[in-house]
Subunit: 175 residues, 2 copies
Amino acid sequence: MDNYEKTIKRDNIYSGKVVKLDVETVLLPNNNKAKREIVRHPGAVAILPINNNKEIYFVKQYRKAIEMELLEVPAGKLEYNESPSLCALRELQEEIGFTASKLTLLGKFYSSPGFSNEIIYVYKAEGLVKSKLATDDDEFIDVIKYSDRESIAMLNEGLIMDAKTAIALSLGLNL
Amino acid sequence: MDNYEKTIKRDNIYSGKVVKLDVETVLLPNNNKAKREIVRHPGAVAILPINNNKEIYFVKQYRKAIEMELLEVPAGKLEYNESPSLCALRELQEEIGFTASKLTLLGKFYSSPGFSNEIIYVYKAEGLVKSKLATDDDEFIDVIKYSDRESIAMLNEGLIMDAKTAIALSLGLNL
């Protein structure tokens, strides 16, 4: 912690449904002051769902921040006090309509530590069993299935542009 | 673009040095309205610098958003109108004091498309030549070197917690 930055002042700019924005004035190791813009986020999970035929379920959804549809593994925000593994099972159900008998944590990652505290728990889900789709009313998602080899080919060809999905495929598949 | 969300209203909440925060009211495909909190970011690069001995240069720096030091590959924000490859060479120089004769784009990724438009261009840098370290005055960074095998072991053991670093190692090393 040699390079620790002590907070001198914190201004809360915004508190929304998904993010909070704080601007903090900090004391640097050289005693200069600096501003840090910090986007606080509750954290999230991402799940790589693989069936017994080594097929992977993806979701395609419109992402307003980038004004395009993006191919991603199922994912979602942690609810207040929710454990990451229960969140993973809930999102599997909500987004692709499956339960899983085996959940393996592949890792946890800060998505953008330069300006946000968002952490993403990345799971592999196996033993998939079809259940009832329980989509959020205001979520519009298409479910698409690719083989493990097709998925890795898409990653290598630059067709996967979502960071958590790239990590899930890299760590979850051993081809 | 079936699931396109049309913006009805945009409120700019904050415009800072690193991020802007907009809250947009959008029209959903079912004609309901929803709010989207969008953190706009100029984009960034991350670089996997590998020398002829297959050693990788990492940086360790204090990240205020997560209140801890994090091990990452060299990285930095795009300046206005700066090309990603020139940004990569600049950050290599500023953060680890090297120039590179070969730069390969491994991919480009949205770090958090659920709430941010940040895109990260991930490069592999080879043909490293020591130059002068030109650190930013207010950046406090330690440079650390690991072999390719040590780096992959750290990734598999959960010791790499930065998303762009996990992607750079996964895509840039073939072990």
